[in-house]
């Protein structure tokens, strides 16, 4: 096994990998940008090196700096996390040249899968069902119009280099096509340094369901069940659960087998995810391979008891998979809420800034994979993901009730978060019934929000108490003396006895 690993990422996923390293007696090495000098992943690492400006291209996306840092500190391997360089074939090639192990797939499947159109061509050839649409990215506006008419509306424009909902646009009618194309290209360029966009037929009432796979270097590929990822807002996943309340056992197994076939057909190695769109009749279509650890990997860990990051390290170190398909037996139910620095009461505007107050939930069946701490200043330069709150329950109902309990304990003040938004989702009858698809949140946002009159009264009382305190004394002094009064009681008892 490796002695030292460099983690070429930040935030909660860097923390996640650091924890796995520490549990394997591997020295975890963090890298950090100017904006991350005080970040949690730096605090929890054993070693940490500064790599440049806040701008990702100068730090977390800078292949040469990452490689140089790994060589300088003697790291034998690099874990890329997700995002940034996670699916960048150039990093993989540089690693190969420098004799550093890249913890992920080799460069060939990365190249095939990283470009979504080549992935579609490859999968179609391997007999994996794909969504109707273009097999190449769209060259110009003329071709756009032409191909769009062929595919038919509504349709999706997708970044060829994309993933994670960036550079993705839904187009209802032809008149929206051109502005959507421009925005998709601009976002794709800014996110992936590649503006190429292709067209896919839009599946009605779609479910996004993905299969986790693990592939070792000895030809063994297994799937670890599915993740229901249909709870999306603006094509971004916000809540995931496993098992999917929508799938039946037959479809689940069929998808697992197809995922293994898809991975095997491209010589995939290490942990990966095969994403599918499933229509209302439970017909499923290949969407993409995420050639990395997914944000939502923890829910699979919770039901299978398998530590996916440790598996990644073991596979990369050349170990064979320690279990076979029939030994994977998921237990219970797990879900994850992505706590984002966004204001759900103001159109989910990003909300970077200082966390002045933080209480995190804990206890049985609750896992908080977080990248923040009290006093931390969330930078505006990166993803708004603060933390992933994960629960496990014997049943879906228990996992939901536990999530509600955990959310009620989770308090973040100083910046806005999506916690109240999840509280809304977790009380919604359609969510409770498991009857939601990717349209759910858009529909939810049209409904009136819950209101608790008791909270309003408590707020007014709190304002009154604060005003009273401010009026009676200077701010703070009164409360302190009051506090002291209670502590003084023991002493008074003593004095009384002596007199």
């Amino acid at each position: 096994m490796f002695k030292k690993i460099l983690i070429a990422n930040r935030g909660e996923i860097a923390v996640r990998v650091i924890r796995a390293c520490r549990e394997m007696k591997i020295i975890p090495v963090a890298v950090y940008s100017e904006a991350d000098r005080k970040a949690l992943h730096v605090r929890l690492a054993e070693e940490a090196y500064f790599i440049g400006e806040a701008k990702p291209s100068e730090s977390y996306l800078h292949v040469e700096k990452i490689i140089a840092t790994a060589k300088r500190c003697g790291a034998e391997a690099i874990h890329p996390g997700y995002g940034f360089l996670a699916e960048n074939p150039r990093l993989v090639k540089c690693c190969e040249e420098e004799g550093i192990t890249f913890i992920g797939p080799p460069s060939e499947p990365l190249e095939v899968m990283g470009e979504k159109t080549s992935a579609r061509r490859k999968m179609a050839a391997a007999g994996v069902p794909i969504i109707p649409g273009t097999l190449e990215s769209v060259a110009d506006e003329r071709e756009l119009r032409e191909k769009a008419r062929e595919v038919g509306f509504p349709l999706l424009l997708k970044a060829s280099a994309g993933g994670g909902g960036k550079g993705l646009r839904f187009v209802q009618k032809e008149k929206d096509l051109l502005p959507a194309f421009k925005l998709a290209r601009s976002e794709a360029l800014s996110s992936f340094a590649d503006p190429a966009v292709y067209i896919e037929k839009y599946i009605e009432e779609p479910h996004h369901i993905e299969i986790q796979i693990l592939a070792d270097n000895f030809g063994s590929v297994v799937y670890l069940g599915e993740r229901e990822c249909s709870m999306q807002r603006r094509y971004q996943k916000v809540l995931e659960e496993t098992p999917s309340p929508f799938l039946d056992e037959e479809t689940r197994e069929a998808m697992g087998r197809v995922a293994v076939k898809a991975a095997a057909s491209i010589g995939y190695r290490n942990a990966g995810t095969v994403e599918f769109v499933v229509d209302r009749d439970r017909k499923f279509y290949f969407l993409e391979v995420n050639a990395r650890l997914q944000v939502e990997h923890p829910i699979t860990e919770m039901v299978t008891g398998i530590d996916l990051v440790k598996c990644q390290l073991e596979i990369a170190a050349g170990s064979p998979l320690p279990f076979r398909q029939e030994e994977v037996r998921p237990q219970g139910h797990s879900m994850e809420c992505r706590i984002m620095a966004e204001d759900p009461f103001n159109d989910f505007m990003p909300s970077p800034g200082k966390i002045v107050y933080l209480h995190t939930p804990a206890g049985l069946g609750v896992r908080d994979d977080s990248g923040i701490y009290e006093g931390y200043e969330v930078p505006l330069d990166y993803d708004p993901l603060l933390s992933k709150l994960i629960t496990w329950g014997k049943t879906r109902e228990e996992a939901i009730l536990r999530m509600r309990r955990a959310l009620s304990e989770y308090q973040v003040y100083g910046i806005k978060t999506t916690i109240p938004f999840f509280q809304r989702i977790l009380l919604h009858p359609r969510f409770l019934a498991g009857a939601y698809n990717t349209h759910f949140i858009a529909e939810l946002e049209k409904e009136p929000d819950r209101e608790d009159p008791a909270e309003e009264i408590a707020a007014l009382i709190a304002a009154g108490i604060k005003s009273r305190r401010d009026a009676q004394t200077g701010v703070s002094s009164h409360g302190k003396s009051k506090e002291k009064n209670w502590r003084i009681q023991g002493r008074l008892e003593n004095f009384a006895k002596r007199l």
Binding site: S190, L460, A462, A463, G464
Partner: protein
């Protein structure tokens, strides 16, 4: 001790009376509650209202209390509702559009002097890897645009003004 607050457009009278050690009788409008309150730190209050528990954070300035309960923020004004209303009307003629988030201007979609519709995107602001269209809050003429593409914007900055 009596206070007059404004929440939303409502005026509410809140009166407090100490009735024992650590115990207050608090009336909100016409309803009275038994309340005990423990300050934890400067802004955090553990509130017990008729036995029910609330963990509250109160951040105050000269104009208002921002009260944070269960993930919700209540802005409780110390000023009169009338005054706020008057200010809002004043604003409607000439409206500054501010940003609540810091970020980078990616694109400016309209120029000073242009006519804009309500809801029309005027510029695109990027923060935390997401691009957000900032829209005109009312129809009118764009009086000014304060930033150019590529510039950084701090929270609270005026982005543009619609007349």
């Amino acid at each position: 001790m009596n206070f007059l607050f404004w929440l939303g457009q409502k005026e509410v009278k809140v009166s407090l009376e100490a009735v024992g050690d650590n115990l207050l009788r608090v009336s909100v409008g016409d309803t009275a509650h038994d309340v005990s309150a423990e300050f934890i730190g400067q802004e955090e209050i553990l509130l017990n209202v008729d036995g029910r528990i609330f963990n509250v954070i109160v951040h105050s300035d000269s104009l208002s209390h921002s009260v944070f309960i269960n993930g919700r923020l209540f802005r409780i004004e110390k000023r009169s509702a009338l005054k706020i209303l008057r200010e809002e009307k004043g604003r409607q003629k000439k409206r500054d559009v501010k940003t609540t988030m810091p970020g980078r201007v990616v694109q400016v979609l309209a120029a000073p002097g242009d006519g804009v519709q309500e809801g029309q995107p005027v510029l695109v602001l990027e923060a935390m890897k997401m691009q957000n269209e900032i829209k005109a809050p009312q129809a009118g003429q764009l009086a000014r645009v304060c930033f150019r593409a590529g510039e950084y914007v701090e929270a609270g900055s005026v982005l543009f003004t619609v007349e």
